[in-house]
Assembly symmetry: C2
Homo-oligomer: 497 residues x 2
């Protein structure tokens, strides 16, 4: 969908009557059509003022353009040179008005969507015709450019669908699985877990917690210590600013748990609510809704974005890299689709998140090392049947995008475990090279000027548990020896009647 | 404020004309005034029907009473015996109407508050006069009783104020503190911590995380292992039902971080929001507010309430008790007052929560053991100057109550550390015997019928850190030997330009 065409009618508001300099303006516009409105564009391309007029305190212009110098950018370029000319005559430009702004985008099919700041959209002769409703501020903020990107994205998506990329990379040997039950059912029956009071939420009893901690010890011994990871603690309430920088603000709205603070902490402001509860023992949701503020963000979704605040705005010496960090200080929360099932697909989960940061080479090299460690861990310690695949990068998926990153070095590997009870595979962890996305989003730089890259890998306890229990069952005697030793004696704390 | 007086005029709606049994009704009401309306009350006390009438399909009654058989309870008692009498004549009671319900409560002073279901409140001759606006459902749900409790509570509170109880129990030796700085300032200066993007929220770098983990190891060696604690993982998103059972629904509204789910996970429903963001790079809070649901609860506040779901509704064998459990799987969040300061008073914090459950004797005995372990830990390992005090129980404070529990066995001990930089004390952890509150709230029973009790103790990493760094500073050479060994080498990961 190349070659959109732009047509804009607008005017510059002046601080005084400029009639006396009309001739100079004419010359300037004639000259601009030859130079600044073509600057940077290939020969014969660019923007052009096809009509103009000066009426006392206003200069009206009509501009047509291609994608090389978009009409609204041409308008801003014109303002600059006009301001210089008028300034000499003590006349200022007070603002810009847009009377009419239309864009033509070639497209094989129409797009039936409402787009912000688009007051009209038609489809004619293989073109989408847009009439924009934007003002000076929005032009300055590049709103028209983003409208074009958004429409391209939507046309692509309706053409190619939302299917995620998936390409097998490798797989373990097949294994014989004695256990063939749904692990959640067995865990529940044995009272090792119980469903929490909330959606997709579990309380983990002492036995499962012991197994999760053994996973943690394996991670520590096989990854954290040998690869030189250091622990940090990342915040778990994530404000909008973090998600704006990480890119999540583009797409996670349907899956977030939103967090709203009280409008004030004054107990008197809340007295009606507490009184109503004390008298009825019912929580008065309508009274509460009036008293809470706009959401300030959400509960932890992807774990690593809030880390980057620690480095935000910094320039760092090259020799401290590569750096390896991890966090396991709290839960993540996602409003999952109808497919929530047992501990396999939950709304609340416990994850250890690994982050590595360095130059492009350092980050790619470490990704390979980490893949080797995981392979060893799954083959030799957990002894599970697994495979991995090259997929749509998690940060693209979470921004609502499909396909793959632009370069083959950047992307996500999903690890999947075979689930004998349903003869299907379950994604149980991932590993990603995120390119320079996060350092750029949070404005973190290398002293040398070389680009900083990063990678991350999320290890979900519930997913590891689901995979392990599904293949190995709940009887420790059937667990692989090395892991069984790590677990030790399972604590038997409760007995139910 | 004893001896309230009740006056109620109401009627029973009948399914048919009952004129023919008027005489029987007369006899029944006369008899009721002698027996069921006095049952359970001291001699000469109780409720009395002082006036009544039967008009075809309705029986009107006027009842006066004292606090022993409250007028609205008398009405329910009457319904029962009337229903039996009328039933014999194939007449049913279809419902109850309340024409007028007033309560007199002696009080030294007026109360200037709006109370739910109170349509009028006056103060006359040392009495608060209430006119209630309640229906049958609300009488069944004991709304009038709770209105009386609420008013008593408010009168007490305005009389005695909101001052928390505080009574010194013990204290360590005084120490000489070389370090006299605000620990947060020093930690920030050394780049060991950085303020997060949210209110009262910190990102903890590798050095502080190492110290927090060393606290964890000390807790494990001195408390968890010797006292036989087992780890569990409690959910961190807390739905209303949990807080209704734990009592928190009575009072934490001004301090909660509320959690709202999306109304639906359908991406099309959210397309306007994502499009707006993509085009403007601003999060459209108004569009979001329309698309999120009522709050379903809040972020973890007190840590142990969601555990009780694991045992909810169970009857358990006596011989598995006492049971010792802990959770350290995530963060807690409170909308703190203006006094948020550094890592001392934060909105988001990391806590290890200990719970012990058993008979009254077991729980009280363990509380003493735990106090001994803490004393040893603070004196011999962390070597800090501390004191502890008997205070308003945390669960009462969090329900908006003051004073102390009814029995001396139930209550909270606050531990405070001296903060040399401000010559003041900081509460850095607590220890509570909660009586039978939680087992009762979540309906957990002992097989023997004996009452189940519980206790809990919250160990906040940020508070321990604030206390330790404030007294010992940030130079490991000045740290007590035993703890320094636990910490080992502090990881030096970052260097900033």
């Amino acid at each position: 969908m190349d070659e959109p065409k732009f047509h804009l009618i607008g005017h510059f508001k002046l601080s005084a009557d400029a009639t006396k300099v009309k001739e100079d303006v004419a010359k300037l516009i004639f000259k601009s059509n030859e130079d600044i409105l073509r600057k940077g564009a290939p020969s014969g391309k660019g923007a052009k003022v096809i009509n103009w007029d000066l009426d006392k305190n206003a200069i009206m212009v009509e501009i047509v353009s291609d994608r090389y110098v978009r009409a609204h950018d041409a308008l801003i370029r014109l303002r600059k040179v006009l301001a210089a000319l008028l300034g000499k005559n003590h006349i200022g430009i007070r603002g810009i008005g847009i009377e009419d702004f239309t864009i033509q985008m070639p497209s094989e099919e129409p797009l039936k969507k409402n787009i912000p700041f688009v007051k009209e959209m038609r489809y004619e002769d293989g073109k989408i015709l847009l009439a924009l409703d934007v003002d000076e501020q929005q032009i300055e903020n590049k709103v028209p450019d983003r409208i074009i990107s958004l429409i391209s994205e939507k046309v692509e998506s309706s053409k190619y669908g939302k299917k995620e990329h998936w390409e097998l990379l490798g797989q373990s040997k097949k294994k014989i699985h004695k256990f063939k039950e749904d692990p959640t059912k067995e865990l529940t029956k044995r009272r090792w877990i119980k469903h929490g009071a909330g959606r997709g939420q579990w309380v983990f009893g002492p036995q499962v917690t012991r197994v999760f901690r053994a996973f943690g010890e394996v991670i520590e011994e096989e990854i954290i210590r040998p690869l030189g990871y250091n622990e940090m603690m990342f915040p778990k309430m994530v404000p909008w600013d973090v998600w704006k920088r990480s890119g999540h603000a583009k797409g996670i709205y349907p899956e977030m748990y939103y967090v709203c603070p009280p409008k004030t902490r004054d107990p008197e402001y809340w007295e009606e609510v507490t009184d109503y509860y004390k008298v009825t023992q019912e929580v008065p949701l309508d009274l509460i809704k009036e008293r809470i503020d706009y959401p300030i963000g959400g509960m932890c979704y992807a774990q690593c974005p809030p880390f980057w605040v620690f480095l935000q705005g910094e320039t760092l010496p090259d020799d401290i890299f590569p750096i390896f960090l991890y966090d396991r200080s709290g839960t993540s929360h996602r409003y999952e689709s109808g497919g929530i099932h047992g501990i396999e697909r939950v709304d609340e989960f416990n994850r250890t998140d690994l982050i590595w940061i360095g130059t492009q080479d350092q980050v790619i090299e470490h990704s390979k090392k980490l893949q080797e460690r995981y392979q060893h861990l799954f083959d030799d310690i957990l002894d599970i049947q697994w495979r991995n695949a090259w997929v749509t990068p998690w940060f693209m998926a979470q921004e609502g995008l499909t396909g793959l990153a632009e370069t083959r070095e950047v992307g996500t590997i999903d690890y999947e475990a075979y689930m004998p009870y349903k003869k299907d595979w379950l994604e149980f962890q991932n590993l990603s090279v995120n390119g320079s996305k996060y350092p750029e989003g949070f404005n973190v730089k290398l002293q040398s000027g070389e680009k900083l890259w990063s990678g991350c890998s999320g290890i979900g306890m519930e997913r590891w548990g689901a995979a392990f229990f599904a293949q190995k069952g709940l009887d420790v005697d059937n667990w692989p020896n090395k892991f069984r030793k790590k677990v030790g004696e399972l604590p038997e704390v409760f007995r139910f009647l």
